[in-house]
């Protein structure tokens, strides 16, 4: 080897090689820093919201002369200050339940139609229109609800009262326009329809072809394919989609504030005007409240925060419990 090299020739300088490792590592470091930073930032934001809400809430609740959980009144400026979230909790939960009961089946139906029934030419425009519903600002829904939906629903309310009044919840005992929790529920249903539909549709489109063919090859009709393969696979997706919708329904503010004619009574006659929700109550009273009144409203916001956390936790539990049977490991 050495003998072939002339002695007086200096050895060729080593070719400067680009060092892929170092640039790669720098990229790794930057990316790691960014992603870790984002993760930490999220935790910090959540924690500071929780601390803020809790601190201000404690300030307010410690001076509440009523029972914060059971009082049917909201008068933090009174002497003594009395306020409670019972009506708001009731109104929020009931209107959201109505919204879910109406929206989830319709959304799943639309999603199945788009993913499995509609010809392709029709599916894309329908999906687009549904997504467009999500782009409408909530105040527009509120105005539409107050100007169109409320008068329109009066006929439906009369009909429900006449034929289903015996169920108690559809008995209308007060005259007045349909600015009720029931109307709010319908409006919320329309508002959460797009998110529930989109998420369900995406999940239904991901059903592995081989799962559907398994059902087809057994002689399943289209509906039976959906029942055997699509719905079981999409089950946890439907739950997640519903929870996203529920989250929006629980926190919806402007639309509810525009439609509802609020009062501080709890009534299971859902068609009667009145009631209130957390977000609606905060929006309606925050502007004119003094510092203490705002703390009281923040305390109600804390309850909504906890409610949302509980709902999400419950959804995760439901999904986790069926994990063994989920389509993920197929």
């Amino acid at each position: 080897m050495a003998s072939t090299t002339p002695i007086d020739t200096p050895p060729a300088p080593p070719v400067p090689r680009p060092s892929p490792r170092s640039t790669g590592r720098m990229g790794d470091k930057i990316f790691l820093g960014l992603s870790r930073g984002s993760g930490i930032l999220l935790l910090v934001i959540m924690a500071s919201i929780a601390v803020f809400l809790t601190y201000r809430s404690v300030l307010a609740i410690s001076k509440d002369e009523g029972n914060f959980l059971t009082t049917f009144d909201w008068n933090p400026a009174g002497d003594p200050p009395v306020f409670g979230i019972a009506v708001l909790l009731f109104g929020t939960v009931v209107s959201s339940i109505i919204a879910m009961v109406i929206a989830v089946p319709i959304a799943v139906g639309i999603a199945l139609f788009i993913s499995h029934y509609a010809p392709r030419k029709l599916a894309a425009p329908i999906a687009y229109v549904v997504d467009l519903l999500a782009a409408v600002p909530s105040i527009v829904y509120g105005i539409w609800g107050a100007l169109v939906l409320v008068p329109y629903l009066e006929g439906l309310n009369l009909w429900l009262d006449q034929f289903f009044g015996w169920t108690y919840i559809f008995e209308k005992t007060e005259v007045g326009v349909a600015r009720s929790l029931f109307t709010v529920g319908i409006l919320l249903a329309i508002m959460i329809l797009p998110i529930v539909t989109s998420v369900s549709r995406e999940v239904f489109l991901q059903v592995p072809k081989m799962n559907e063919e398994a059902a087809l090859a057994l002689g399943a009709t289209r509906w039976e394919v959906i029942r055997l393969s699509v719905l079981p696979f999409g089950r946890s997706g439907i739950i997640s989609a519903s929870m996203l919708g529920l989250g929006r329904a629980l926190g919806e503010t402007m639309a509810v504030a525009t439609v509802l004619s609020p009062n501080f009574l709890i009534s299971l006659h859902l068609l009667n005007p009145g009631g209130g929700t957390f977000a609606q109550n905060i929006a309606a009273k925050f502007g004119e409240a003094d510092a203490f009144g705002r703390d009281a409203l923040i305390a109600s916001g804390l309850v909504l925060f906890v409610l949302t956390l509980l709902v999400n936790g419950a959804a995760r539990l439901i999904i986790a419990r069926r994990k063994e049977y989920s389509g993920a490991n197929a």
Binding site: M210, N211, E213, L216, A217, G219, A220, P232, F233
Partner: protein, 258 residues
């Protein structure tokens, strides 16, 4: 139980692309017929025309006749759903219903066909799982999910699910290609037992497998990429592998192409 299949002049299309052209053959009852040929020659497409699964693919279209005994599966008054209840299918990758228990997987086809009493279902499920040589391995965990089984067990579960509805014909689309050699052997033994009761058609890439399990073998080929696949010849398996009448068959099985 088992029926003869007579195919004449069958072509299948994906949109405007013709995938297989003018195939005619007879599949004997209570026997195993293997389809071999290079990738893309249309064996699987052809198999899927035999239970009208091809038309499920968007753009899928079929011309020609498939007679099951004397009934044309493609007659205008025949419901593809009924066809698929008569002609069962096992797929390349095991596809048990992931959300269902082992028991429910086997019972799924029966439940589609009507309501059964619990005791009847129990009997059929046990019989089918025994028929698929799976009973002893799963009898203590029938209510566990089918997706928890090994790949080979899942494939036998799929076979149990297919035979539970007592089909006339059992189509198998490369049923062992996702399995290890031991599981493959188990399935091959099972095929040998099942042919006593069913007409079996199996697509395979593994020529040894075709030689081991089948009574008759059909060789498919295509003239060039993009051209439709055609049936080159069908004969007794022994003859195809020892003394085929077409040169292309010999070239393929001796490994000269494909």
């Amino acid at each position: 139980m088992a029926k003869r299949i007579d195919i004449s002049g069958l072509s299948a299309f994906y949109g405007s692309h013709k995938a297989i052209e003018d195939i005619s053959m007879t599949v004997e009852p209570r026997s195993v017929t293997a389809f071999i040929g290079p990738s893309g020659c249309g064996k699987s497409t052809f198999l899927r025309t035999l239970n009208r699964m091809h038309e499920v693919t968007p753009g899928g279209r079929v011309e020609g006749k498939v007679l099951l005994d004397d009934e044309n599966l493609y007659a205008s008054n025949v419901d593809p759903v009924t066809v698929r209840r008569t002609v069962g299918m096992v797929f390349q990758r095991p596809n048990p219903f992931p959300t269902m228990s082992i028991f429910d997987n086997v019972a799924a086809g029966l439940r589609l066909n009507g309501s059964y009493r619990k005791s009847e279902l129990n009997d059929v499920v046990e019989k089918s799982l025994r028929g698929a040589n799976l009973w002893n391995e799963v009898k203590d965990r029938l209510n566990k999910p089918g997706s928890g089984l090994s790949g080979g067990q899942q494939q036998r579960l799929c076979i149990a699910r297919a035979i539970a509805v007592e089909p006339q014909v059992l189509l198998m689309d490369e049923p062992c290609s996702a399995l290890d050699p031991i599981s493959t052997l188990a399935i091959e033994d099972l095929i040998g037992e099942l042919k006593e009761r069913f007409t079996i058609v199996i697509v395979t890439h593994n020529m040894q497998q075709a030689a081991r399990v089948s009574d008759r073998t059909a060789f498919f080929n295509l003239a060039a990429v993009g051209k439709p696949g055609r049936l080159i010849e069908i004969d007794e398996t022994e003859r195809i592998f020892s003394n085929p009448s077409v040169q292309a068959t010999e070239d393929y099985i001796s490994g000269r192409f494909g």
